[in-house]
Symmetry: C4
């Protein structure tokens, strides 16, 4: 079932090594199917150069495996919670990409220092809190999703399609698996430039709000005029 | 029309990913035609691996599209102002290349710390001011060009073929599209080495003026002796 | 003899340049044969692009060459001591990979700042002391192994499969040559992110112990559930 | 004439882009011929992807062009002075490789922080002084060579085959053009790790002298035992 979507999710997963976002198997991509409500995700711990479209696993939003001969990604429960909480999220990416993860390990949100960031993300990329010992010990991956969902519950999740999980890595999302990968590339590039920017000027301040508004809204919303 | 120039501008645009200066569509190159006064520029938001010479857009200096089935780069109005203000500029590049943009985000001009810089650029690479809210809200891209043009109005724009726009990215120019790309590569390399140089020695001073003069003038002007 | 193991050790050695862990000949990989107790190691100072499976050298644990037309790696005596001290070590890697070596030169252990580290290594990657002048002058490579073995003598060497040698480089080990290379890639990536993490937040603290436990034990031991 | 040597020098020049040491034409390699005393060097300002063995220029130690249709590298006069001062130097490389040049711009010698450095270079990589205004204005490239030669006049130039020229770049040398390129790769790698090492531990001290001695002399001199 969902063979076309498996192909799409496979291709989106293969973009992670292409863009240098993953080492070994440290990443996973999923996309939701609008009709069935299921989502398709990468299997757990399979090398990218051995991955096949048919290996993709079909899951429902209760966390049940619907189809697939392999175990789904160990982060599947996090994907479930994000899909459940935010109907507008259609694709999700998780990576340990190097610069974004360095910010996550540092426990800091990434300020918006420029228009590269503002072109895609409205305001800082937040770093959400570490889970408590109890949250970790009971249902770690599910609670990771709940902590993210709690942070965004009164915010526009489409305007900030990326989040850092403290001491862990980065999750991004979008209108499809491919779009979520696009945002993962943006998050990594923005994380790199923000770190270097602070090295060059330790007193740097975020970009003026009017500049952030201009760049975000020239690409998003009803008055957008970027692209074709 | 201008099919040869479209080919040249296409090739110059394709040098950006080759030299690692762009992620996705974050860059654009144009070149001016001496005869017609028009310039040819990359279309807006088109992936580099789908770009074709025929996609290039022909514009006049009033900002009118003369030929092309696509929208021109969203930064076209900035190119227009630079071509209008400086007849000696024949090609222009805009990128968000990582190190140069980190300096732009930091709001700092790049000092001339060595001969790699002095071989191509006479003095620091300036970081021009952010636009005011009014400048942003009225005609952002055009005003970006005007702020750059104002900075260089009493300076030799050929001796400093690069500028940082605060919180944004870098513009470079030259005697052709290809030469402007060359200067974009130089600006990125110089930005990288200047940041690392300050990390290695926080008290570093710019290179002595006589050394800057020597390197710049052995490659430029009537007494140049570098090359064939 | 041991032609299959030579092939495996050859392939594991070739993974070092593939993963960007070595410059020139600055690295070596070995694997132990369970039956004979011998181990197979790369020859000394041979370029990776000229290396052949047949060049691999067979050694015993007394440091005698059993087979091979070339000299074994100059670090062979270190491998010998590690194999002798820890029967659970089946493969060993030594490199001067850039980030791990920068920590070794800095004389600092790498704190566990996140789950990328905790997924593979339980607690910090230790930096063991420099050898004394006497240890260096008498049997340098052997004493390097003895200093490492002494550090791990009352610890679980499989839970911390990497060590930094002060002012030198990194050794990693595992259940095979290939697995040891895997850990060498992890050590380099973790070293890179830890350095950047401290740059982004100089006051950063190690990841909470419960998070380290969670990630380590979801991949290791009887309750592991990661992978297939 | 010297067709074989031209081929060797051509190949050594082509190693510079292969090892990521040059951008555009920012580098040059030469080798001396033992029989004639001439040396062969890259032409000035020629792109690496257009370079041909036949383009190499033959020079004598008085700085006269003996053969070649192109101008020799603009740094030829520096090569001349080094060959004249040090008969043991048979090949020379000049680059603006990124990390080594960052140290040169910072005006700092590179301390020996570890065995990667000590394996090839005995003690720090010195950063020699800037030229005076008079030295720059009269015979800049020749005086660059004289300043280096003066620094090494009472030292063993084979034990320290690399030097930084303040605010400029790096020169390395060796027993052949290829060996000099080898040392240029080492200098760049060592420069990178030393900078990162100081970032990780700002109070870091050079490696103990006995460790430097051990690594240098296990690869050099009559008691060397590294390699085949």
């Amino acid at each position: 079932m969902l063979e076309k979507l498996k192909q799409k999710v496979y291709e989106a997963n293969m973009l992670l090594p292409k863009h240098g976002l993953v080492t070994f198997t440290w990443g996973n991509v999923s996309e939701r199917d609008t009709e069935t409500g299921y989502f398709v995700i990468k299997p757990s711990g399979v090398d990218y150069d051995k991955l096949q479209p048919a290996d993709m696993v079909v899951m429902d939003l209760a966390g049940n495996k619907i189809e697939g001969s392999m175990n789904p990604s160990s982060d599947t429960a996090t994907h479930v919670e994000l899909y459940k909480a935010f109907p507008e999220i259609m694709g999700i990416v998780h990576t340990h990409s190097s610069w974004a993860t360095s910010w996550a390990q540092a426990g800091r949100s990434i300020p918006c220092y420029g228009t590269t960031h503002a072109d895609y993300i409205y305001g800082e990329i937040p770093c959400v809190r570490c889970l408590t010992k109890e949250e970790i010990d009971t249902a770690y991956e599910k609670n990771t999703g709940l902590v993210i969902a709690d942070y965004f519950k009164d915010k526009d999740v489409t305007a900030v399609p990326a989040v850092l999980c403290k001491n862990h890595g980065v999750f991004t999302w979008g209108t499809s698996a491919e779009n979520a990968v696009h945002n993962a590339v943006v998050a990594e590039e923005v994380a790199k430039m923000a770190a270097r920017c602070e090295m060059i000027n330790p007193q740097v301040q975020p970009a003026p709000q009017e500049l952030q508004d201009k760049h975000y809204f020239r690409k998003h919303g009803k008055d957008a005029y970027y692209g074709q």
